[in-house]
Subunit: 190 residues, 6 copies
């Protein structure tokens, strides 16, 4: 189970109200390689991964990804909070306003709802950890796309933090893969 | 952000290995009115709900639903863990075995992947809290269906606990609706 | 079975050709809380609702929602009928033109096709009527969003009529819920 | 708008309680080539079809398909109404029971929810009428599959009636295609 | 099996960098009536079509449609290759850039991912060939929409070539339908 | 463009008519980690991968995966070809028979239609090649699941061949990743 702590993993201070970015950030909220995909992927894979260490790693990173979902949601909310209907329309968010006013929703930047088809689990630790390493590489590149799209210092700071975490997760999944491969070999010996 | 505590919200002790139930429990894992729908629905609605109390309530219940996702996943895992391929096939889980062996997946009991189309948010507290009350009623009835399908005491205990929580959530959302309606009226007055 | 009567439930007279609104109205055609969702939801729930009155109510409102689908479709058609390709593009309807020219389609304002995942049925009258009450609240708020987006008097008149019907349906589902709850209690007594 | 008449287009009298067939009939309720697809396809195509006759035909057949949705739903409901949980499970409907008890739902026989991706509209009468003719041929073959799967006389009677209607619709769409092609040629002349 | 030949079926020489068209062309890449739908539909139907000639025809046309997928992808790639982020945003491709930079993806012009729900197969040659004829008519009309949206000579040349191929395929499926109908009649005789 | 050669990449000789396997093989036809996913993923990624070698590799492997789609389809067809309706029902293929008789369809073993949401592309060669390596690992494990489910020698031979090809592809994508990383470093130097 989880306990909620009322703070963000990393502070979010957006200085320029850039509504375009609210739309684009959706890709990391409910898009294919976004934070929700990451959280559900790792927390779902925990049950059948064979080693205790890998299980703990998936729980840790999965829990951190929930905090990233919260950071992204906070950024989208801050960007759209005080915007007028006309400003939302000008930023390509008019359809979202029609569908659900300023409410958030786990969809991608085009409005396509999140689907579990974006993630996978196989009860095979080598396959699962490759899936996870690929997921982190894909999330990294999405943060780089978002960094290309903004020059707001506060936004850039949060995106760089999140990008950096994906690189760390990638490395940790790589280590887990080595441990799992050693475990598989040791099992064959005894 | 969230902190993981390594225990289940309520202990799960399944006495009879009933593989049919593993298949059926999926409806509360990745089905339309399951625990994942609940968690994502409430945590997503938090940003635009107007009162502090309603925001805290959505965070509390959303966080608890994450713990319910974990309980359901644990039950499915325990039921399938030691089962042979033949037993899985006999329980209608042969297709799932082909697709991803014994790994879990956020899909419904027919194997349809979870989609965010199951949930909604509207930045209108009256609409959102009605959505939430309906969600709790629907989850309650699904637990009643699952209770009809099993006679294992440990399974029944966990399902009754979860069913009871939905009833409590329903009541709390009902109270929040009254508070929101009072808040809306008070805003009109002053 | 149904008999078609060649008139709209409420006349549609749009005075200003506002193509943006054609795009936004799609949310009430094939969007999550639109009229098609309403019609299919209620007509599908009829079979397992226990009382005659509730069955008749679902049939009545479901049939009326079909008429609302027709009104929304007529509005979209009128708005787009004579528009040039350039005007459609300027209103964000260029992609729709590429996919299917000026034809209508049951999708939301972002072009996401309608899915039955938007609706639910549970053969439990308390759950189903809460689903229906929530649906009406959600549809009401969508009409309010659409009213925010236009100032054409004819459009506003049609949208206000449709919004008002949702409020009436909400009340009638509330009454049905009370009747069903009384029926359930009376069954327990005898 | 539509007026509901409280009778089925063709009486349904199922003599043998064959639960397998309840599952299979879902393909004509919420499956790709089922009656819901037909109704929504034709009623949606009406707006942009150029001739009055074709518009009236799409309205007529679309309205009749709504009556077919009702017949299929009635058959599924009658087959499952009194069945025990064990009987539902034996017929492969255990997952549906877990998800929504005996309630109906617009999904296919495998439980995949209906999606508007099954239908199309193009504001090009030649393309639309070919789509419609193909739809009727596909529905015809589905009824033939269902006839292969049952030997209940009442079921066979209803399925044969519905199959026969698809053949009639196919012919009428063929005639409409000829009329539209003549209209297109006449427009080129003058 | 297939052998790749490193050339396009028809040369693609786009003279004007028209980014709007890159977005619109997606409808023929991963849209409902696009080239991917065509290729997968025909190659999937091959197995159960009864005559050798129809099987060969489906293989031929399915293989050609793979080449059309390649042509469309090449056009989208050429149009977007050197474009700046600002230009992509101005053309409505900002969300796509956020999600996957300049990478292609089998989605429609609104960003909705391709789904097999767009196609059908029935092991009934009359139904399947009507599906195929309808598909070709729908693809033809989409090319006409795209021709309305551009005035670049190189683009128009490629689109006209592809449109013309759909007309030829339509005719060949029409001939196959006649052969299949004759085959069905001859089978009844002997 | 592609040229069709009328032979399978590897011969398919199934000795035991095992209809269960026809159902399970669907996961490698239209399932998340099946051959269609592989073919479309690689052929779609070709355009934005930076080196000539990687482009050629994606074309080669993508083309080979098309041949694997054909092998899997041939196996499913051979298994179901002569089966009676009763046999299909007993193997859990009754719903498929209702929907489309013995026709094949790109869906998974539970009947969920293929969606492009299963694949990804990012115009970042490191992310794309990790996605591809993960895809091959996932496909490998699915073949191992299928090998667990059968003891027919002909089936096992084909599945082992296909499993082996995934291992080879994994290695080749690993080499491509190294080349791309060297290319990226060389670009930074000069």
């Amino acid at each position: 189970m989880w306990i909620y702590e009322k703070k963000l993993q990393h502070p979010v201070r957006i200085e320029k109200c850039d509504l375009r970015m609210a739309k684009y950030l959706y890709t990391q909220y409910g898009g294919p390689d976004g934070e929700l995909s990451a959280a559900i992927r790792y927390l779902n894979q925990r049950y059948t991964i064979p080693t205790k260490e890998a299980k703990a790693l998936l729980t840790d990173i999965g829990t951190e990804e929930l905090a990233h979902v919260e950071m992204i949601a906070t950024m989208i909310y801050q960007l759209t909070e005080g915007a007028s209907v006309e400003e939302l329309e000008a930023a390509g968010l008019g359809s979202n306003y029609a569908i659900r006013e300023r409410a958030l929703f786990p969809a991608d930047a085009n409005g396509v709802p999140w689907t579990a088809a974006y993630i996978q689990a196989h009860a095979d630790p080598v396959a699962d950890l490759h899936e996870d390493m690929a997921a982190e590489q894909k999330a990294r590149t999405v943060y780089e796309n978002l960094l290309d799209l903004t020059d707001d210092p506060g936004m850039k700071d949060a995106l760089r933090f999140l990008r950096e975490r994906e690189v760390v997760h990638f490395q940790r999944f790589g280590e887990a893969l080595r441990i799992v491969q050693e475990y598989k070999e040791s099992k064959k010996i005894f």
